[in-house]
């Protein structure tokens, strides 16, 4: 599908409480457009949940459930089980396919929700798990998560004179998920909406668990002007920080290869979380990106 073929109907309503330039809202909006109306959403605690459902308001035009921080995948397992049981026993939903989508941030997915996610993927539930990755615990005030990249400054991995931000590299969630042997794993970016939406669509159509990690720049956590979200997401892909690929039944496929990778500095210099970096440190990051790109054939 190309952009013009995606429905105009908005299943994620405007008027939510996201920050100006919020990438998470774009994730939800695009994902629902691709998935369509016949979708039930389970949401982990986090930015997306808090900003979209301050009672008595809701931004969700599909059925939506939130229970806690670490259990979106487990709640979605129950929802999927119920849909299957009610279809089989009471003929509910008829022949219609009901998509079950779980949304979790990087903290709720790679850290506290990791066990529930691993369990749900391993059990083979027919669900799509979308990890919206803004690389820190943004809802709590920008603390590091397992998905925070090397040397990024957060409130719990601050850049000081001795320690220069996050000391560990970003957890490789797509490969960990692929190692579960699930039929579909993909990375995506809100700056490449068609690619992202097609992946969501494909993930919904596939029978069994699918995992999509979508990078989502965060104005508040990363420190950049609100109108630069899409631009920054694109820079992440063009510098090789965030390669776009999918792993379908174990088959790796790179979806986008920039003609010439941009230097990492272009991506880092516009973000406050990296402003402490000296040229030497930037070259260390460049080297890690280069190694990763070699690995992915980028």
């Amino acid at each position: 599908m190309t952009g013009s073929q995606f429905p105009r109907e908005e299943l994620f309503a405007p008027g939510h409480r996201g920050c100006a330039g919020c990438g998470a809202a774009i994730v939800a909006r695009l994902a629902l457009k691709a998935a369509g109306k016949n979708t039930i959403v389970a949401n982990a605690t986090g930015c997306l949940e808090v900003m979209t459902t301050p009672y008595p308001e809701t931004a969700w035009r599909v059925p939506w459930i939130h229970v806690a921080f670490e259990n979106a995948a487990a709640v979605a397992s129950g929802v999927e089980g119920a849909v299957a049981a009610l279809k089989r026993k009471r003929g509910k939903y008829g022949e219609e396919k009901v998509n079950v989508i779980a949304f979790g941030g990087d903290g709720g997915t790679a850290d506290i929700g990791f066990q529930a996610l691993s369990g749900a993927m391993e059990r083979g539930h027919d669900m799509v798990y979308i990890m919206y990755d803004n690389e820190a615990y943004m809802n709590t005030g920008v603390q590091r998560s397992g998905s925070t990249p090397l040397m990024a400054s957060t409130t719990t991995s601050p850049a000081g004179s001795l320690i220069r931000g996050e000391t560990m590299p970003k957890k490789n969630m797509p490969m960990i998920m692929a190692a579960h042997g699930i039929p579909y794993v993909a990375t995506a970016s809100i700056s490449y909406p068609e690619d992202f939406m097609n992946k969501v669509k494909k993930a919904c159509e596939i029978n069994g668990p699918a995992f999509i990690q979508v990078m989502q720049p965060c104005t508040t956590g990363w420190g950049y002007p609100a109108d630069k979200t899409i631009e920054l997401g694109r820079l992440a892909v063009e510098t090789g920080v965030w390669p776009l690929f999918e792993i379908e039944n174990g088959e790796f496929k790179l979806n986008y290869k920039p003609l010439k990778r941009k230097p990492i500095e272009e991506y880092l210099k516009v973000q406050k979380r990296y402003r402490h970096l000296n040229p030497e440190e930037i070259s260390v990051i460049q080297k890690t990106i280069d190694m990763k790109c070699d690995e992915y054939g980028l």
């Binding site: 016949n38 039930i40 459902t53 035009r61 939506w64 229970v67 259990n71 487990a74 049981a85 369990g119």
Partner: protein
């Protein structure tokens, strides 16, 4: 026609869930609950029960999946014990707050440390403020009957709260007794189908469940649960009475059961399987011409305190047995809840059976003797080894 099977307490719970034709079971094994979820797995594997069996990776996920399933309109059942129940603690609040009528069997067991798999009631008593209805069984027949009743109570529109059916670990979970199993059509006729109107996930009618409740709304949700708890007292009694009429088995008024309270001055208040032993001792003493009594609490949350007060109106000395301890208070939870309402009586707290320590018939008789002479408000630990 009914069928009588000689089965364990956990089997009785599994049979009841099968009779209730549950749609989704999400379960994680833990001693001494495991034989319940094994039995259910067998039922599903053999096609005896048409349900989705979600083999979750933890009790936290068991409860989370049960909430999701119930919110999506399915009848959900799970089972746990001790550490597993403690691991669920966070989501137990969510289940009640989201008003999903999940039914759970809990095999009462002590909590670590030291690790101990044997029976006491610290696990469920520690969950008393989560908004779950808590029912306690005396024997395996009552386990089966309570689980069936639990679905009807939980799914009642005046209640819509999750229900925990408790049975003492090993004492009931692993002991076989003859249990009468009603016919499934009668059970289903009794409990009906779960058709949620208040909250369900259906793309045809989108609904947001589990929203953010700011200070303008949160308190009302707590009050709504309290109101539902209050409603539940009548519903539990009504469901019990209707069950008694249909299946010919009754347990007091459904919330409490009085045993020889009319003439007895010395009485025990207790909960769970120990009530069987106490009843035997009461019968024994009656033959000797001594009148002692028992007030069995069948429903701990909501606690029918007015009924308890009324049932104890003739008592003088009330021994309250706790198989749990609120550390730092040297009192058990039942004592803390009940004694303050019995100002005109002498009340003595007995901490018994922690971590599976035996409670013998002699201990029970000793308590009846002791409550007469012990000072008001005292706590006595029964069977504690001296240094």
């Amino acid at each position: 026609m009914c069928e009588v099977k000689v089965i364990t307490g956990t089997s009785a719970a599994a049979e009841a869930a099968k009779l209730a034709d549950v749609d989704v079971i999400a379960a994680y094994p833990i001693t001494p609950q495991t034989t319940c979820v094994e039995k259910l797995a067998d039922f599903v594997a053999n096609g005896e029960l048409n349900a989705e069996y979600i083999k979750v990776e933890s009790e936290h996920s068991a409860m989370s999946a049960s909430i999701g399933a119930s919110a999506a309109g399915a009848r959900a059942f799970t089972a746990t014990s001790s550490q597993g129940l403690a691991l669920m603690h966070e989501v137990l609040f969510a289940a009640a707050g989201m008003r999903v009528p999940v039914v759970m069997m809990n095999a009462n067991r002590a909590l670590s440390a030291p690790i101990n798999i044997w029976n006491d009631q610290q696990d469920s008593l520690s969950q008393r403020d989560t908004g779950w209805i808590q029912l306690y069984a005396e024997d395996n027949q009552e386990v089966l009957d309570l689980v069936i009743q639990a679905f009807k109570i939980a799914e009642d529109e005046k209640v819509l709260l999750p229900v925990m059916v408790n049975l003492d670990g090993f004492i009931l979970t692993h002991t076989v007794e003859p249990v009468t199993l009603p016919k499934q059509e009668n059970v289903l006729d009794f409990i009906g189908t779960y058709e949620p109107k208040h909250a369900y996930l259906d793309p045809k009618k989108p609904m947001t469940q589990g929203a953010l409740g700011d200070p303008n709304y949160y308190m009302e949700t707590r009050y709504a649960i309290e109101t539902a708890m209050e409603n539940a007292k009548k519903v539990i009694a009504d469901v019990h009475d209707a069950f008694a009429e249909k299946f010919n088995r009754a347990y007091g008024n459904g919330l409490i059961e009085s045993y020889n309270l009319e003439k007895a001055e010395n009485v025990i208040v207790a909960m769970g399987s120990i009530c069987g032993t106490i009843k035997d001792m009461i019968d024994l003493k009656k033959k000797e011409g001594v009148e002692i009594g028992l007030l069995k609490i069948r429903c701990y949350r909501p606690l029918p305190i007015e009924m308890i007060k009324d049932a104890l109106k003739n008592a003088k000395n009330v021994a309250i047995l706790d198989k749990s301890i609120s550390l730092g208070m040297n009192k058990g939870a039942i004592y803390a809840d009940v004694a303050s309402h019995l100002k005109d009586k002498k009340t003595v707290n007995y901490i018994v059976g922690l971590g599976g320590r035996d409670i013998t018939p002699e201990d029970i008789l000793g308590i009846y003797d002791d409550v007469e002479i012990s000072e008001d408000g005292k706590t006595n630990w029964i069977g504690l080894k001296e240094e």
